[in-house]
């Protein structure tokens, strides 16, 4: 599968790392990539359900490009949000809707975070796509 360049870079970065602990360290570094969702905008609607930490995700369309804002109290969750931001920010809604969460698997991010597979990254990924879909309708 071919991915957009930004995503491919992330995949490459993770694939180079052997040790899971180091992978999580890198993942947490991605938390810097998150544009923070101010606490006033945390709502029930943008809460990431089923997550152990408190996490929120909001998506906007700016000039027809997707922009994601997010926040999470756990740094690893914030790191996942950072990667998601890189994957979607600035893309057209169509491009975002054509994405699949598999890239995280390919990068070894999902595998390494098995427990959250069903309710962590995927949940957030699905939320973003759902929001985008609502936004373009």
């Amino acid at each position: 599968m071919t991915w957009p360049a930004a995503i491919q870079e992330i995949i490459d970065e993770f694939q180079e790392i052997e040790e899971q602990f180091e992978r999580l360290e890198i993942l947490m570094d991605f938390s810097d990539e998150v544009e923070e969702l101010p606490i006033e905008q945390w709502t029930e609607a943008n809460l990431v359900k089923g997550c152990q930490s408190i996490a929120h995700i909001e998506v906007e369309l700016v000039d027809d490009a997707v922009w994601m804002k997010a926040a999470a109290d756990a740094k690893i969750v914030q790191g996942l949000q950072g990667i998601l931001s890189i994957a979607v920010n600035g893309s057209s809604p169509e491009d975002v809707l054509s994405l699949t969460p598999e890239f995280a698997e390919e990068a070894g991010i999902l595998n390494s975070l098995t427990p959250s597979r069903s309710n962590g990254f995927r949940t957030m990924f699905d939320m973003v796509q759902k929001r985008v879909k609502e936004g373009i309708q």
Partner: protein, 394 residues
């Protein structure tokens, strides 16, 4: 197919096992047994709300069972229970308690398994609801009586396929009629899912209960499928861990998905085992086996009749391969023990359906029930086993 089932390597009383007690429980293929062992030796952990690797694997293993159930039976909801019986009790407590009131009518049939009678009798006592039983006439539900009984009915509970006689009831008609009066409908599908594919949404029932152990899965686990409308009408049944959203001393709020009805540590290894069984059975052509087994059962039936026995199973084209019979003089227990001495397992007794027994005018029958791995040679051994019994006893 027998080679998939390690139990057939064992001898019973010096003979190869001929297992004809499948309506009670089925045997398990090696892949199911191995899946559970493998779970315990490599992924065992408690599920949900945990972030370590084993817990994640356990959660996925358990939830995979739910996904497979939803997929196979085309249902939006699959609540995991300990079996058919708990699933029906769940409906009685979660739905019945809060949606039925004094004077409301629940329609049952005389063909029901005790598990689909007693919960309603208990509910009737608590809520003063009225129970109406559709009579069985010559082995068939009296559909005319059903139409009358439907008057004012709020819920109809019907066994899809009878464990005693193998009769597959006309559930499509029954559901249509029940729906036309706005009644909810519960199918006891314990004997149905092992034998035929069911599209739950298309069939249109509101609830459908069944057990893993009757379809090559493990003991201790079953499911209740529910459609979205009925699901929203259900109140929690058991309280505890995993089914709550928040707990304070003042009160609690509940999960909104199936977990709401799965209090406490779930049947994790059992879910993994059932998932393996669902996977295994998805590769089996149930329809073809149904034809094959029904034809074996039919020939067993005529052989038994030739030998002077009374056979109660009509064995119509859609019925399950179950042959219930009695001998005019030999006691079922003697019969079954003499068969067991030859390695042949059948069941005797009322088969948890005393009202049906009363209707048939017997205290019990001998029941030979067939499943996927049974073949012509089993029928042969069974019949020659019968002959040996008759030689000695008759």
């Amino acid at each position: 197919m027998k080679q998939d089932f390690p139990i057939f390597l064992r001898k019973v009383n010096g003979n190869s096992l001929v297992y004809l007690d499948n309506a009670a429980t089925t045997q398990k293929p090696a892949c199911v047994i191995d899946a559970m062992s493998h779970f315990y030796t490599s992924s065992n952990a408690n599920v949900h709300r945990a972030v370590h690797t084993l817990a994640g694997e356990a959660t996925e293993g358990y939830e995979a069972c739910r996904s497979l159930l939803k997929q196979r039976y085309n249902s939006t909801r699959a609540i995991i229970t300990s079996g058919t019986t708990e699933a029906i009790n769940l409906v009685a407590r979660s739905w019945g308690e809060s949606n039925l009131n004094s004077g409301d009518v629940v329609v049952l049939t005389e063909m029901e398994h005790h598990s689909d009678i007693v919960p309603w009798q208990m509910l009737a006592e608590r809520k003063a609801i009225e129970l109406r039983y559709i009579p069985v006439i010559d082995g068939e539900l009296d559909l005319d009586a059903f139409d009358v009984a439907l008057e004012g009915a709020k819920l109809v509970c019907v066994v899809h396929t009878s464990n005693v006689l193998g009769i597959r009831n006309p559930v499509e008609k029954i559901i249509a009629a029940a729906k036309s009066v706005g009644a909810r409908i519960l199918l006891d599908a314990a004997q149905a899912v092992p034998h035929e594919m069911i599209d739950f949404q298309q069939l249109g029932a509101d609830f459908m209960a069944f057990s893993a152990h009757k379809m090559c899965g493990p003991t201790g686990i079953g499911a209740l499928l529910v459609n979205d409308t009925a699901f929203d009408e259900m109140e929690p049944f058991m309280g505890g861990g995993d089914m709550i959203q928040t707990v304070t001393l003042e009160g609690s709020t509940y999960q909104t998905n199936e977990h709401k009805f799965e209090a406490g540590t779930p049947r994790i290894a059992e879910g993994v085992g059932w998932a393996a069984a669902l996977d295994w059975i998805s590769k089996v052509d149930l329809q073809q086996h149904h034809k094959r087994l029904l034809s074996i059962a039919t020939s067993i039936k005529s052989s038994l009749q030739e030998r002077g026995m009374t056979v109660y199973s009509p064995l119509g084209p859609d019925d399950a391969a179950v042959v219930s019979f009695t001998h005019p003089t030999i006691h079922p227990e003697d019969f079954a023990r003499l068969l067991d001495a030859q390695g042949i397992a059948v069941r005797t007794g009322h088969h948890c359906a005393q009202p049906l027994m009363d209707k048939l005018g017997v205290s019990g029958t001998i029941r030979a029930s067939l499943y996927l791995y049974n073949d012509d040679s089993d029928a042969e051994v069974f019949l020659s086993g019968i002959d040996r019994v008759l030689e000695v006893m008759a």
